[in-house]
Structures are given as structure tokens and as C-alpha cells.
Symmetry: D2
Subunit: 137 residues, 4 copies
């Protein structure tokens, strides 16, 4: 599991005083950096080969400005040319938001999905979480 600490910005809270819903996809994007590095070690945009097919975000509790948030990221499923990444945002030891994204290994020149290389699959598998009730839905 990959963990990243995020410090909310003043403007991340919305008019209700909670972190706005639209902020979470950006936090989760940041939290996926270590997974992206398995594909593109130095995160060079010119070598990018991933594209998002779907994201789901489930809001469980309110997150607030003024306290650190821990983003946890792990693999839920590893397919031939795509993977499902699970993510969670924790604050004060409470799970606030859960997310799931399907990312496709993609060749932007050929405009088609391509298999995930075996060596990357092996790395991804180390972060595969299954059978844990708390992490699956």
C-alpha cells in the first residue's frame, strides 16, 4: 500500500466548511504518483502510457481544512492491459472518502490499449489487496 500525506489548502474547503467533493479526484491523482512511477519512473510526460477509463468516489465522512489527510493507494485488480486502483482518504484516524479508478495501459500513437509488461505486473502485485473487508466493496 502506498501512503501519502496531504496538507489541505484553505481553498479546498467549500462554503459548507468541508473539503469540496471536486478536490478528492485531485488528491487521489496525487496519491497515484508512486503507481505511475512503476510505468514511467521519472514521470516524464512524453513517455506517458496510461489513461483513465473510470473513476468512482464515495463520500463517507466530512474532511476538514487544518488537519493532514493520508491518502492510501493500492491495487484492487490487475488485468491484462488495465488495473483497478483503490484509494482512501483518512483524517483523524477516520476513513472519509473511498475511491476506485480504472486505468488503462495505453499507446497514444496507436490509440489502443496495450498489455501491461510482466515486470510492472510483478511490482503492482505487491500492492494488490484482496479479501480484506475494509478495502473491498
Amino acid at each position: 500500500m502506498f501512503k501519502m500525506i496531504i496538507e489541505p489548502r484553505f481553498g479546498d474547503a467549500d462554503g459548507l466548511g468541508h473539503i469540496n467533493n471536486t478536490v478528492l479526484p485531485a488528491w487521489f491523482e496525487q496519491g497515484r504518483n508512486p503507481i505511475y512511477r512503476l510505468f514511467t519512473p521519472d514521470l516524464k510526460l512524453e513517455q506517458w502510457e496510461l489513461t483513465m477509463a473510470k473513476m468512482e468516489v464515495e463520500f463517507i465522512g466530512e474532511l476538514q481544512y487544518g488537519k493532514e489527510v493520508e491518502i492510501r493507494s493500492y491495487l484492487l485488480e490487475i488485468g491484462n492491459s488495465s488495473m483497478t486502483i483503490g484509494q482512501e482518504a483518512w483524517q483523524d484516524d477516520k476513513l472519509g472518502v473511498k475511491g476506485k479508478t480504472i486505468i488503462v495501459h495505453y499507446d497514444f500513437n496507436q490509440q489502443k490499449s496495450v498489455p501491461i509488461p510482466k515486470s510492472i505486473k510483478n511490482e503492482l502485485e505487491k500492492h494488490l489487496i484482496k479479501g480484506t473487508k475494509e478495502h473491498e466493496d
Copy 2:
């Protein structure tokens, strides 16, 4: 169905030259303004009574900077105290992104969901779309 035209900003495109995934939840949020107005006619934050339970965003085609995007919003389901809103982002007559959000009618003082008033339900029902293949999944 509610329609809103959005003009992308230069910074909405990411390093791959397409509208970044994290932009869509913000566009869909903007597209829900007319639905929010059914609950809070002048959108006063002090009278707010909606909270998001879940969002799903499905990326079908690439969206680009430099061309208008039409956000279409409608009701997929109207429950007792919650509703499922369907949304679509169109550019060049092509469906680029589909979204679905579950929004709960909520009393922030009592911290609990409350029934959607009948008069608002009647309004929402006018924008309920069912049986159309293009709008359901």
C-alpha cells in the same frame, strides 16, 4: 434535461493535451447548478441542504481545449431523500464523458438525511430520463 455551455480554460488541458480527468467533476458540479436551484433558488450557502454520497465518471473520448463543451444533466432516479443525477459532456457532437452522482437531501444541523419535499420532487420528475439507451448503463 438541463444544458450548459462551458468554455475550457487553457489550464484545463493537461500534459497529454487533453482536458484532465480531475476537471470533469468541477464541470459537472457547475452543470448541476440548475438542479441545486430547485432546492435553494438563489443558491445561498447558508440554506444549503444537499450533500454528495457518490460520484462516478466514465471517460469515453478525449475532450480538448479550444472548443465549447456542452454539459447535459438530468435525473436518473428520484428516491425518498436522495436522487441520482446523470450527466454528460459533449464536444463536437461526440459524447466525451459520462457521470453519475448520488446527492442526498440533508439536514446539516441534525446531521441526517431528510425527505425531498413533494413540490421539488415534481420539478425533478420533469427531468427524469428513463428507457433511453443512450442515457442508461
Copy 3:
């Protein structure tokens, strides 16, 4: 003068209930689209030749969610290879925010500024505002 209507998003308001400061640079960026089009008519990123040297944003009054904002954009100064763009955000007939950006005509391959072509200068000059007390500082 270029005018653009922007409809604030729920998340644009921050914990104080006003449009957050960090939103304005994005609104102004959107408001500069018609000026960008004078350089790159279809806003193709591959043909981009502008870069920002400086931005200034002055907050005069509070802007709110729930009401349209008008972004006004005009030229304050046109130099050999750069220009100063003035911008304003109006809501309810009140000036809320003023901005100023210095944009450089730039050759990204050669990594240096290049003169603004005469034909574009002529177009820009049509939107040059001077001598008006309300627009200068």
C-alpha cells in the same frame, strides 16, 4: 473590450462563503481566450506561442456563488514582444477583482521572446484602453 460571463461553481466558494482567491487567476485565464485566439485562432496547443511573465490580482470586494460574474479583458500596454492585459471581475454591477498579466510572445523551440506580428498588434490595439481612470492604476 472582451466580455465573458462565468457561472461560479459550488466549490469556488471557500470556507468564508466567498469565491476563493485562487479561483480568480483561472477565471481570468478563461477570460483571455479571445485574446489568445488573436495569436492562435483555433487555440491549438501545438501552435502555442505565449507565456506568462507576471500576474497581479487585486481584491476589492467579495464575490459570491449563485450569481453570474462578468470578466472584462482589455489591453493596457502593447510592447514589441509582450503585452499587459487588464482584467476585471464584476458581479451585481460592482467591481470585485482587478487583474493585470504580462504575457510574452514566445518561441518555445528557440526559448526566446519574439516580436508580436504587426497584424496581431493591429487587432490588439482595438482593445487598448487608456486614459480611463476606472481602468488604470
Copy 4:
């Protein structure tokens, strides 16, 4: 001087492959958290008493996705009821962006500026930088 490490998000880079201009005000906002804490130790929004009068951002070099950015924040000037905060964004030991914001100590109920308490001034003064050519303009 306050230092904060920020890890860019994929979507922070724009179509030119560099961190978009509009991202910097948000990074600087995050970098001001430790200064905000001198006024509101737990950053509670209900006790907020600061408002921004002006921001300036100067773009010196390009910042990139894939490498950490260090945000440095310090005081340039401490007035009776306002302060000028200087900020810098460094990447790869190079100064990429400089910023300056004027923040006013403000009573939102009375809608007027109020003096900065002496005890807070004392704390702020510890982070006052003057006479250094690199930090002033």
C-alpha cells in the same frame, strides 16, 4: 522562513508540459498555512480573521511534474493591520516562481481591518527577511 515540500499532480501540468500558472496561487496558499496558524492555531474556519488584498506572481523559470517543489514563505513587511508575505517556488535548486501577497487582519463581523496583536507581530518578525537582494524586488 517556512518551507513546505509539494509534490505536483499530473493535472498541474498544462498543455505545454509545464506547471500551469493558475496552480501557483494554490501552492502559495498551501505554503502560507504556517503563517495562518500564527493567527488561528488550529486553522478553524469559524475563527478566521485574514483576507487577501493583493497577490503578485512572477514567473521566472518553468516548473515540471515529476519532481518535488519547495515553497518558501517569509515576511517582507509587517504593518499595523496588514502584512506582505514573500514566497518562492524552487525545483532542482532553481527559483521558478516568486510571489507576494498582501494579507489584511480583518474582522468579518465589523467588516473592517483590525490591528495585528503584538504577540503575533513578534512571531511574524522572526520570519521577516530584509536587505537580501534575492528576496526583494
